[in-house]
């Protein structure tokens, strides 16, 4: 039994002269929920597809469930479940027909399939809707159905590519309950997402940006280790103007807008508080609230990206 469910070493994928995934390395322990976090186009889907045997890597190696993705892709496919970013079940089949079909594709026989079918329906909350055409389901139901079809054959490793895209928050939460349930059952879950709040649910995260891993660790580790500077949250009704004012200040390390508030990263908290009030008052911008907050993963992410971009474009400095 391999120690790690997934091992990746210097995995690279180039499309022409565009490098989608750049020498990515990581390990995933068995039974954990592993999150791949990044913006659209960062390379998440490409990585997942390589790990599932759907794309050939340009260089590097990876093993999934103990099988090498280059040399034993079919064995990999047998051992994993996969849910793609775009809904890829058959819209013109009913729920039950889809389940039966993919069961057959995974070699589940009559009796075994009959046993699994109700389980999948229950899990997806689709009991009683077996005869509905998949096309008529809403996004949330569809995603759960897709998850169900992905785990029909009880794989030990499951890959989910942006499973909650386009789904309302309540459905998202329910979906993550399913994922937790899987993990508790010993299944390794590899999930990609661009929702920062979802990343909190993972055991282990990697932040990926422009094809490279820029940070990694548990959510807690990331939040405490990466960001050492205090972050102050400024609420105002003129957030954009406030940002413009504060950006120019030399003692401001980073600013970013979060909805109707501004996160300002400063070297010293009390100094920062004072200076912020002063500068904004001078500019005639009212400050509704000013608090120190604990950094969220989003703050971590933005910090890391700007660090990466800053390093890449050295010389075009920002404060």
């Amino acid at each position: 039994m391999p120690e790690y469910a997934i091992e990746v070493k210097d995995l690279t994928k180039r499309f022409g002269d565009f490098t989608a995934v750049d020498a990515v390395s990581f390990e995933v322990e068995r039974g954990r929920i592993f999150g791949f976090l990044g913006a659209n186009g960062a390379g998440k889907s490409t990585t997942i597809r390589m790990l599932c045997g759907l794309l050939d890597p340009t260089s590097g190696m990876a093993s999934v469930g103990g099988f090498d993705i280059r040399r034993q892709p079919e064995k990999v496919k047998r051992a994993i479940g996969y849910m793609s970013q775009r809904f890829s079940l058959y819209e013109d089949l009913t729920v039950a027909e889809n389940i039966r079909f993919f069961g057959g594709a995974y070699g589940l026989t009559g009796k075994a399939l009959d046993a699994r079918l109700p389980w999948v329906l229950r899990m997806a909350g689709l009991a009683g809707r077996e005869r509905s055409l998949t096309r008529t389901l809403s996004a949330g139901w569809k995603q759960r159905l897709a998850l169900g079809c992905a785990v029909l054959h009880e794989p030990k490793i499951v890959f989910l590519d942006e499973p909650t895209g386009g789904v309302d928050p309540a459905s998202r939460r329910r979906f993550w309950e399913l994922i937790n349930g899987l993990s508790e059952g010993g299944v390794t879950v590899f999930v990609t997402t661009h929702y920062m709040d979802e990343a909190e649910y993972c055991n282990d995260i990697r932040l990926i940006h422009a094809g490279r891993i820029v940070a990694g660790g548990s959510p807690q580790e990331l939040k405490t280790a990466v960001i050492r500077n205090p972050i102050l949250e400024v609420s105002s009704d003129r957030v954009v103007d406030a940002m413009e004012v504060l950006q120019k200040e030399p003692w401001v390390l980073e600013t970013s807008i979060f909805g109707t508030s501004l996160h300002v990263s400063v070297a010293d908290e009390s100094e920062g508080r004072r200076l912020i009030r002063e500068r904004l008052a001078r500019a005639g911008i009212a400050v509704l609230r000013l608090d120190r907050i604990r950094p969220s993963l989003e703050d971590v992410f933005i910090h890391k990206i700007e660090e990466q971009d800053g390093a890449a474009g050295a010389g075009e400095g920002r404060p």
């Binding site: 597809r49 599932c52 045997g53 759907l54 794309l55 050939d56 892709p73 079919e74 496919k77 047998r78 994993i80 996969y82 793609s84 775009r86 809904f87 890829s88 079940l89 058959y90 819209e91 013109d92 089949l93 027909e97 039966r100 079909f101 993919f102 069961g103 057959g104 594709a105 995974y106 070699g107 026989t109 055409l133 079809c149």
Partner: protein
């Protein structure tokens, strides 16, 4: 095996769910056959002609009678001046004109060569070619007759002209119904168009819809996938063939003299090819639109180089060579042989072998091209 059955079942379910596909697959071939069975007709009879007799002698009338009574021509008008012919030819009322110049009878009586003129509307060169052929034959016959009559008069007894007679026997289709030749061909065309189209679009559809991704991440093997996707169309194709055959036999009264089993066997061998080509197309196309164009690109030569209307032996050697890789060539020979001539396995085994060989090659190429990868 299970995987194949799952895929077959899925394909049938999907077919049933598309409300338009089903009628298109089954009803339209019948309509096509009905329409085309009546229209596809290469007999050239009753060619409309204009007659211009400038001589008005007994000889010229005799000569023209030979044309008029031949059954090949229908006289639309008799004009007195050459200039009047233009009108009829220009607006298509007549396809040919027969002109006997003045002095025709006198020339003949004096034993000098006479001439007549056949004018054909070459923009319809099919009728024109045949019309001119007929006209030449008829004129030749008349010439022979005149000569022999002359010789009989000149030579007297003891020097009888010798006439080698032709006893014409028409085999297999004594009434010479053009339809009997055309309909097996139309049958093959319909079968080819239907099966190749759906096969070429079938795999590309899944690529475009994204379901292919989910399918190739399963342990299903390429050959299972391919067989599973194509098997329904084999069955459908056979059904269609049976339908069309029934219409041909009972409505058009085209004979089916040979073995039905062999006939359906040939259809299967043919479908191996059409489906194989369709499959190949879908492995080289990224979108359905591409598949569509490529399919049209393949269907056209198959339609035209297979010997359906244009005889292969009249093609330049290059195209004759190319026709060897066109499955319709073998299928048309086989199906015409079975239906019209009662040909059996001993006569047609090599057509079957060619079909199977060609189909196997195409299939092998496709399976090799089909990889369970996304790029």
């Amino acid at each position: 095996m299970k995987a194949i059955l799952s895929i077959v079942r899925k394909e049938f379910l999907q077919l049933r769910r598309d409300p338009r596909l089903f009628p298109v697959l089954f009803i339209s071939p019948i309509i096509q056959l009905l329409l085309l069975g009546y229209a596809a007709n290469l007999d050239v009879r009753d060619i409309p002609a204009v007659v211009c007799d400038l001589d008005r002698s007994a000889a010229s009338r005799d000569f023209l009678d030979g044309f008029v009574n031949s059954g090949y021509f229908t006289v639309r008008a008799r004009v007195g001046r050459m200039a009047d012919i233009d009108r009829f030819l220009d607006n298509g009322q007549a396809a040919m004109a027969l002109v006997v110049p003045r002095g025709f009878g006198d020339q003949l009586a004096a034993g000098r060569p006479a001439s007549a003129m056949v004018v054909a509307d070459g923009s319809e060169s099919q009728s024109a070619t045949i019309g001119v052929n007929y006209a030449t034959m008829i004129a030749g016959r008349y010439a022979q007759r005149v000569m022999l009559e002359k010789l009989a008069r000149v030579a007297g007894a003891g020097a009888k002209p010798v006439q080698v007679g032709a006893e014409v026997r028409v085999w297999y289709n004594p009434e010479l119904r053009s339809r009997n030749f055309m309909i097996p061909g139309v049958l093959g065309l319909i079968l080819m168009i239907m099966t190749m189209s759906v096969a070429s679009m079938g795999i590309v559809r899944e690529k475009e819809a994204g379901t292919m991704e989910q399918l190739i991440v399963t342990p299903v093997r390429p050959y299972e996938l391919i067989i599973g996707k194509l098997l329904p169309f084999v069955l459908i194709g056979l059904f269609e063939a049976a339908f069309v055959l029934a219409v041909a036999k009972y409505w058009f009264v085209v004979p089916v003299r040979g073995s039905l089993l062999l006939l359906f066997g040939m259809c299967l061998a043919f479908m191996l090819n059409t489906l194989g080509f369709g499959l190949f197309i879908s492995t080289i196309s990224r979108t359905q639109q591409q598949a569509m164009f490529t399919t049209v690109f393949f269907i056209m030569p198959m339609m035209l180089l297979g010997g359906f209307v244009f005889p292969i032996e009249n093609m330049p050697p290059f195209f004759q060579a190319v026709s060897h890789v066109v499955p319709t060539r073998y299928f048309f020979i086989a199906i015409r042989g079975i239906m019209l001539r009662g040909a059996g396995w001993p006569e047609l085994w090599d057509q079957a072998a060619s079909l199977l060989l060609l189909g196997a090659v195409v299939f092998a190429l496709s399976i090799l091209r089909f990889r369970k990868k996304l790029d």
